[in-house]
């Protein structure tokens, strides 16, 4: 049912944000034709902007749509693991990211592949990292697109428009074009600026939901009673508590996702755009505010159960929370909430495509296609790549079933986690032989993808070798163990048979630099 009021409110906020994106191009102006400026905003973001930017690109349609949907449809294992996941990610960042920021600042690296190339002296390994970063980001961008699609459908916008026999998703196309246009014109500045507005909108939405819905439903006690009843009705598919068999899956989903998050190009981009190591550290104490929001939003999936919501027709469990918002709130507020969710998906989609574009430009285009490209040409290629990659993401939505859309993100996690030995362990040691790392990576990626497929496009799989079967685990986790074991066994072996190690161009002091040169920061901050 098309809802005029909701739609009007939605459009107003959407336009407001679009205008902001274009204004952002002029904010703290730098030469956007240089990739350092377009893609890292000149590395001069302070604590607050970094907080909004990281929050904006880590808490996404994953938080608003995928996790609540998993809670609604399957319960604790598939949804609630996201809480330990987003708790454990911060101690990991606190330890690793200052080092990463430091070496990248010191050596002028823009991507993890740049770092790996410098650390292990291997072009093929750098290529593998870049390729993984780009491919793993696509399903994650796809998840964001899907979030926008669901919000628009919840407003009652007809989803398909037939043009010459082709079914075109018109609203999605418009949103996509707006996003693409301002990402193209203002680079990382656009999403950072929008992130602030988006977060304010999201926090308002969340607070209103938490104040209104539980009291309408008779408190959390009543909500969890309804959840128990759902488990009693479908004891094999829906769980309020972990069954003993699910322990391993729950733990590995949480730990695997936590380790994977800061290997994604977009997370690293946001870290690198901050102006000092301390900004990064400070943020590990501030970002959990978002994790709390994620946890509370996850519970909206349970609220939808207690409210006996019938999910929005074509979206299955993913349509539960949008239907809950429609059912419990006046249409003007529903319009506001859907605008918040859509923009909450646009921001990360934009940062993700910028980050993946940086990877393509620096580590594939400049490396293999045109090594002599000027900085200006580099920037222009990155802008075009960001556009093309967004189309790539759309293909994922079209061809992979969206029933449990959280699997999009988890698939990205399987792929990106395999870069951990080179990137994270590389921050500590150059002990590994580059070829050993490459083989570990390759085996992890190939087997991981096969297992994901065998599991029925799901991310938890029981590996059986001969008669021995391991407990069901997140594939990313089992594969990173295999990957590491291979890298550790093959390194001494390859050294012995004479496969040459690469030379490490970084110096031990590179990993401990305090901040960006103060001259650069001070001047620009005033301007």
């Amino acid at each position: 049912m098309f809802n005029g009021v909701a739609f009007t409110v939605f459009i107003i906020f959407f336009l407001l944000v679009t205008v902001l994106g274009f204004v952002a191009a002029r904010w703290r102006r730098g030469d956007l034709n240089l990739i350092n400026e377009w893609g890292l905003a000149g590395r001069r973001f302070g604590t607050l902007v970094t907080w909004f930017l990281l929050g904006g690109d880590l808490y996404t349609a994953y938080t608003f749509i995928a996790v609540p949907a998993a809670m609604f449809g399957l319960g604790v294992l598939n949804g609630w693991f996201a809480v330990p996941y987003t708790v454990l990610v911060y101690p990991i960042i606190y330890i690793l990211m200052p080092k990463f920021w430091s070496v990248c600042k010191q050596r002028g690296y823009v991507t993890s592949a740049d770092f790996v190339k410098g650390r292990f002296g291997s072009n093929s390994l750098a290529f593998a990292m870049a390729l993984t970063g780009i491919v793993a980001t696509l399903p994650y961008i796809a998840l964001q697109m899907f979030g926008i699609q669901v919000s628009l459908a919840a407003l009652g916008i007809p989803l398909t428009l037939s043009v010459g026999g082709l079914n075109i998703d018109l609203p999605l196309l418009i949103a996509f074009l707006v996003l693409a246009a301002y990402t193209y014109t203002s680079g990382l500045r656009a999403p950072a600026m929008i992130a602030m507005v988006k977060d304010v909108m999201i926090f308002i939405t969340l607070i209103v939901i938490l104040v209104v819905i539980p009291s309408k439903l008779g408190g959390f006690g009543a909500i969890f009673t309804a959840v128990s009843a759902k488990h009693a009705k479908s004891p094999t598919t829906f769980f309020q508590f972990l069954s003993p068999k699910q322990t391993w899956a729950y733990v590995t989903l949480a730990l695997g996702s936590a380790l994977a998050l800061f290997l994604y190009p977009h997370s690293l981009t946001s870290v690198l755009s901050s102006n000092s190591k301390n900004v990064v550290k400070r943020n590990t104490a501030l970002l959990p505010i978002y994790s709390l929001m994620l946890g509370l939003l996850a519970l909206t999936g349970y609220m939808a159960i207690a409210a006996h919501i019938k999910p929005l027709a074509p979206f299955g469990a993913n349509g539960a929370v949008p239907a809950l918002i429609n059912a419990e709130f006046p249409s003007w507020f529903a319009g506001f909430a859907f605008a918040a969710i859509s923009i909450g998906a646009l921001v990360p989609a934009s940062v993700m495509s910028i980050a993946a574009a940086n990877l393509f430009t620096r580590n594939i285009f400049k490396e293999y296609i045109n090594p002599n490209a000027s900085e200006r040409a580099e920037s222009s290629v990155a802008k075009w790549a960001s556009l093309v990659l967004k189309f790539g993401a759309v293909l994922f939505i079209i061809y992979i079933p969206t029933t449990q859309v959280i699997n999009f993100q988890l698939l990205g996690g399987i792929w990106i986690l395999q870069t951990l030995p080179a990137v994270f362990l590389g921050l500590y040691t150059n002990w590994f032989n580059r070829w050993a790392l490459l083989i570990g990576w390759l085996v992890g990626e190939v087997l991981g993808t096969i297992f994901f497929y065998q599991a029925g496009l799901k991310s938890v799989f029981t590996i059986t070798i001969g008669g021995l079967s391991f407990p069901a685990m997140y594939i990313a986790f089992s594969m990173i163990i295999l990957n590491l074991v291979l890298a550790i066994i093959l390194t001494p072996l390859f050294n012995v048979i004479g496969l040459r190690r690469g030379s490490d161009v970084t110096a031990p002091t590179d990993y401990d630099v305090e901040e960006a040169l103060p001259v650069e920061v001070g001047k620009e901050a005033l301007g």
Binding site: V76, Y94, F224, A254, K281, A285, S291, L292
Partner: protein, 70 residues
């Protein structure tokens, strides 16, 4: 670069404090310990509010470490 030599020894001296960052891992990665309904809090089973509580505790741990310069 020039301020590095002064700040480094102090930070190095306190980096052992980072061992406290292991606490959340121990608290959350053994679910049998908290996978229960009781005690409840504002109607939420233990599993749920315990997990949420660790978001806050972990944030406090990292904040304290940051201020101590670890």
């Amino acid at each position: 670069m020039s301020s590095q030599p002064q700040t480094q020894p102090q930070r190095r001296g306190r980096s052992w404090l980072r061992i406290f960052l292991l606490i959340p891992f121990i608290a959350l990665l053994y679910p049998p310990f908290y996978n229960t309904a009781n005690p409840t809090f504002i109607g939420m089973p233990f599993l749920y509010w315990y997990s949420l509580l660790w978001i806050i505790i972990t944030a406090i741990i990292t904040a304290v470490l940051y201020f101590l310069g670890a």
